[in-house]
Symmetry: C2
Subunit: 341 residues, 2 copies
DNA sequence: AGTGGGCCTTGGAACGTTTCACAACAGTGT
DNA sequence: ACACTGTTGTGAAACGTTCCAAGGCCCACT
């Protein structure tokens, strides 16, 4: 048999349909006695509200969604945790959608969410200037771009990735490195491009070789290992003495493979990661990394989103930019001696 | 102005409402010319289908959800990635809901998903025998329990956690440890309880001290660090020589803090983790860990769920149990000498 | 020219809820 | 007894879609 509806509940309790609705939505305007009869009927039939019908009639949803670039990157789950806090406080549900660094899947999610009329969308886009996002915004669904800047037509929260790249390279240059590799990709990902820009900006101020860019297909541990093989395969004379990785996943993979293939870190190869995920500090050689305020990013994004959803007309778009910080650890520190533990 | 509906599109294109629906759902039965007119109108008005209305009328949804125990644990995002693959292949969207190890939040998500009439729910429950789950199943929404066994009234995929605990402890006992701590909690989490059971089973076969259980409030890195402090604070004579952690997050935190406080791993303290997440191998001291087939778990769960959703009556519930494997690394290996890299 | 048959298109019912104007009823004060 | 008030409950409309039976049109064939 089909799921019971309010009509069934009403019949079973011997009241009108509207009364059932009142019990659920305005319990104070129904007598104790009637209310109990209705609630009993609900329990007895196992009635479950139909959210579709509800939303269709009411026009409103209390659901937010975060379309994540890649849920397997702990950076994003930390951001999501920040957003979740705010959603909880505001009585909203938050759905996470894993884009898996795949533009098509991300676009599919975006379409679906718009069709579901969610209250608002957080998104870390694969491609920053995806016209689909602009279209969603134009049609009226609040969108906040996370971890990327955006134009004046929507809100965004981000961290200055150019500055981050600059910090990382400045640190390596200060330590005396002159042949430095960048590992990350694809370049279409805005964060990657910006970090390269920042790195080259720092490089331009120094007397060093141009940045060797090892472009990767994804930003995960496996690609980091692959990069490690490529670096270890180079003759020492041409091998970069330091690597700046677009994120910590790559850096951890690189570190792992480099060590396995006999390179000493940091003596033969210094490594700087990005994001300062929890695991960076616990790595074989604790990782120097560019730290971003992850949870704050998520909290702020969700707050902006809710503000826009609550007052679409009065809302003014904001593009909040946070500053990254360099956290120096062993992977770039020339150790005085033996150095274990 | 309100979002345009099919009615608006129909008026704008000068056709009947039903024709617009046909263009969208059965394009082959509409003339080229008419179709174009309608599609143009859709583009011009920025019409977006209303999924609520659609679902209300059709009664079907093509959305799955995975209520995760904690998205910040990479184990679960790996499981989710497996489920996502299957969902993609089947043309389904998968929403991730972060329970954050919080029973209340998890229950809220469960309610919402049922009200939204999702096609099916994957869940890694905080409490294994939550009656709410049974209720959802009884009312007809397909549910597959992930990473926990379940009764005959629903499907589940899991890994034998008792065996996992046994493997871990057997390994430590073989290495000569006699005073061993278990770190993890809360005990209400089924996986934790089972791993303890397995550990004690192995212990019972040997002539060793009973398991010292350090119960934690959560299964994250911070709690691991806290446990590290507690262990390091003990006088060496009473301090366990080995620790078995309920998951790798705890193990990594423990490792980090133990090393910081001057304990050598594995000489002073051997550590076994659980899950074999990607970061375990890249840790300061590569972590011995009990490995589970994460993606396979997710794939299998999603396949069972879809099978049930497609044929609710013909479906027979299955409780698939996979076997864990111990991956031995440096954190439990007595190193012959100096031992770096 | 008339008829039969395809092919498109049409209009309306139905999905389950919320909301709102209104009916029913009981109690109060005259 | 009556009108009035306030409180509860009722019934119908509306939300935007899909599906289906039925209608309209045009062409080919007799």
């Amino acid at each position: 048999m089909a799921a019971p509806s309010m009509k069934d509940v009403a019949a079973h309790a011997g009241v009108a349909l509207g009364t059932v609705s009142n019990v659920l939505n305005h319990p104070e305007m129904v007598t104790e006695r009637t209310r109990k009869r209705v609630l009993d009927a609900i329990a007895e039939l196992g009635f479950v509200r139909n959210e579709s019908a509800r939303q269709l009639r009411g026009g409103t949803s209390r659901t937010l969604a975060y379309v994540v670039l890649d849920t397997r990157n702990p950076f994003f789950t930390d951001v999501a945790a920040g957003a979740q806090q705010v959603a909880d406080e505001a009585g909203r549900a938050l759905f996470l959608c894993d884009g898996g660094e795949d533009a098509v899947r991300q676009a599919n999610y975006l379409d679906l969410l718009e069709q579901q009329r969610v209250e608002g969308i957080l998104i870390t886009p694969v491609e920053a200037d995806d016209p689909r996002i602009a279209a969603v915004v134009a049609r009226g669904t609040p969108v906040v771009v996370v971890d990327r800047g955006a134009g004046p037509d929507r809100c965004s929260v981000s961290v200055d990735d150019v500055l981050g790249g600059d910090l990382a390279l400045s640190h390596l240059l200060d330590a005396g490195h002159r042949r430095i590799a960048f590992i990350g990709g694809p370049r279409a990902i805005g964060q990657v491009a910006d970090r390269i820009t920042g790195a080259e900006r720092a490089l331009a101020r120094a007397d060093a070789e141009p940045l060797t860019v090892l472009e990767t297909a994804r930003l995960d541990v496996a690609e980091g290992r692959r990069a490690g093989e490529r670096l270890a395969g180079l003759p020492a004379a041409r091998r970069p003495t330091a690597a700046f990785c677009a994120n910590d996943m790559l850096a951890l993979g690189l570190l792992q493979q480099a060590v396995r293939l006999g390179l000493r870190v940091p003596e033969d190869l210094a490594i700087v990661g990005y994001d300062d995920i929890e695991f960076a500090a616990a790595a074989a050689v604790p990782l120097t990394s560019v730290s971003q305020p992850r949870q704050l990013l998520g909290r702020t994004a969700a707050e902006l989103l809710l503000a826009e959803a609550r007052d679409p007309d009065g809302h003014r778009h904001e593009n909040r930019v946070f500053e990254p910080e360099l956290v120096v650890r062993e992977s770039t520190r020339i150790r005085p001696l033996g150095g274990v533990a």
